[in-house]
Amino acid sequence: MTPAMSEGDVQMSSLSAGGNQDSNSTTSVVELKVQEGLPKYFFLAAASTSLLVMALIMIFLFREGLAIFGKVNPVSFFFGKAWYPTYDPPEFGILALIVGSVSVTLFSSLVAIPLGVGTALYLSVLAGPTVREYVKAAVELLASLPSVVLGFLGMVVIAPAMQQILDVPTGLNIVSASIVLAIMAIPTITSISEDALYAVPRDNLEASYALGATRWETMSRILVPGALSGIGTAVILGMSRAMGETMVVLMVAGGAAQIPSSLFDSVRPMPASIAAEMGEAPFGGEHYHALFAIGIVLFLMTLIFNLVATYISNRFQQKGASTL
């Protein structure tokens, strides 16, 4: 509790006490303090559950995951190329899984960034009010589609089509998985970018128009640079979402634990490995602990993405025209 907060409490109670003294002189300041204080701590406790859950996630991930390092040395865990958890003796090298995750994340952001940011620019600069309303609703509905549904469509529509058209050995590969992941990341990127574009002061845009700049010049030289930190946040959060997404990569990425040599190779990203194998991993065994250790890696990677995004959006927050 900071000093400022407790000061505020006292002020608030004495204010209410002052207001109540005439009508109800039996209510003492102490009672009022209880009446005001108890709800506050109740709501504070509720708000703290998110922190608590975050802490519990870390505690239980590490408790179950770190056990693997008693049996497998960390270097061969992180840099081993062979993931054969059910062989005898088993091999737990997750490099191929990490490379799988990174490849689908990067390739999907190549698709999602232009589409997502482009949609946001269209919505904030060019679209009329009616079109805007409908496109926004569509983006929102896209965000609400369950991942298993998109995974299913990727599996039965995109993958076979790609296999036929491009004549590749399997349609379940990095490219198909990335396309579906991009569809999932676009709503995140669009909505956060759009907020950032709106935060750019109108004055700046009007000044630019007044100087005779065209709409395109204003957009590319005033609007986008002004919203760059917000767009950066949007892109990072979209990538974080793609990296953590499970069902799509489980169903569409092909599932081969190998280091890919082309974009049309199958991969087995980390979430896919956890989801596919947890059901058959004997409880408390090495495989079980190894999957939790993959969970730690995945958790830390997305956590870093999110912290960077938070940092950027706090650090470069637009606080009015003067900071530009």
Partner: protein, 231 residues
């Protein structure tokens, strides 16, 4: 599996959705009240916000691992509706908090000032003025979160869902079938994947109708409220 209906899966998804909203709604709304009505700038508020933001970014499969380790194994709930609802509930908590906080912030401060000026305590003001005014917004946002819970697969794979059970659940400690997990299993590991294709499409259609129905419902409420709002 080429025969039989998906009623058990629909019921399972229904129970999981209800269970997760029972957890996420009260906690989420209470958190949002703290954030918008009580919290002051400072390290505590920054810490709580950091927790919520990062909770929102935790991958769904990691939530599954957390649910498995904490609820299924450590607390001994087993693979059950209870464990699945808790996992899903915390997954959608940040969504509910975000939507509710925004709804509270949109209530004009003059409403609060008028209530306080009449001698109401802060708690009375929140219960009788802020909460009712913000309710439509809170509900809309929460419904969007609930729609997400209905469609999630990875968090319930290890905590609640089973591929096949003949029985409808009779207690919160029973396993259930669930629509999203059913789609996944039918599409990937059935013995007659081609024969069950129509069943897969049918199940997907039911799930999409359910989730989009929930969302469109929320969007319609919100659009109406926006038009009605006079402040």
């Amino acid at each position: 599996m080429t025969k039989g209906g998906i009623f058990p899966a629909i019921i399972g998804t229904f129970y999981l959705t209800i269970g997760s909203s029972l957890i996420a709604l009260p906690l989420g709304v209470a958190s949002a009240i703290y954030l918008s009505e009580y919290a002051r700038e400072g390290w505590l508020l920054r810490l709580i916000r950091l927790g919520i933001q990062n909770l929102a970014g935790v991958p769904s499969v990691v939530f599954g691992l957390y649910g498995l380790a904490l609820f299924v194994v450590f607390l001994g709930f087993g693979v059950s509706i209870l464990a699945g609802s808790l996992t899903l509930g915390f997954l959608i908590l940040p969504t509910v908090i975000g939507a509710s906080e925004e709804a509270f912030r949109q209530v004009p401060s003059t409403f609060r000032e008028a209530s306080l000026a009449l001698g109401a305590t802060k708690f009375q003001t929140i219960c009788r003025v802020v909460l009712p005014s913000a309710m439509p917004g809170v509900l809309t946002g929460s419904i969007l979160g609930i729609g997400r819970a209905a469609g999630e697969t990875a968090p319930i794979m290890f905590t609640a869902a089973t591929f096949y059970t003949k029985h409808l659940p009779t207690s919160p400690l029973d396993q259930v079938m669930a629509l999203p997990y059913h789609i996944y299993v039918l599409a990937t590991s059935g013995t007659h994947i081609d024969q069950t294709r129509p069943l897969q499409y049918g199940t997907v259609l039911v799930l999409i109708s359910l989730v989009l129905g929930i969302n469109i419902f929320a969007i319609i409420i919100r659009t109406r409220m926006r038009r009605k709002k006079t402040w």
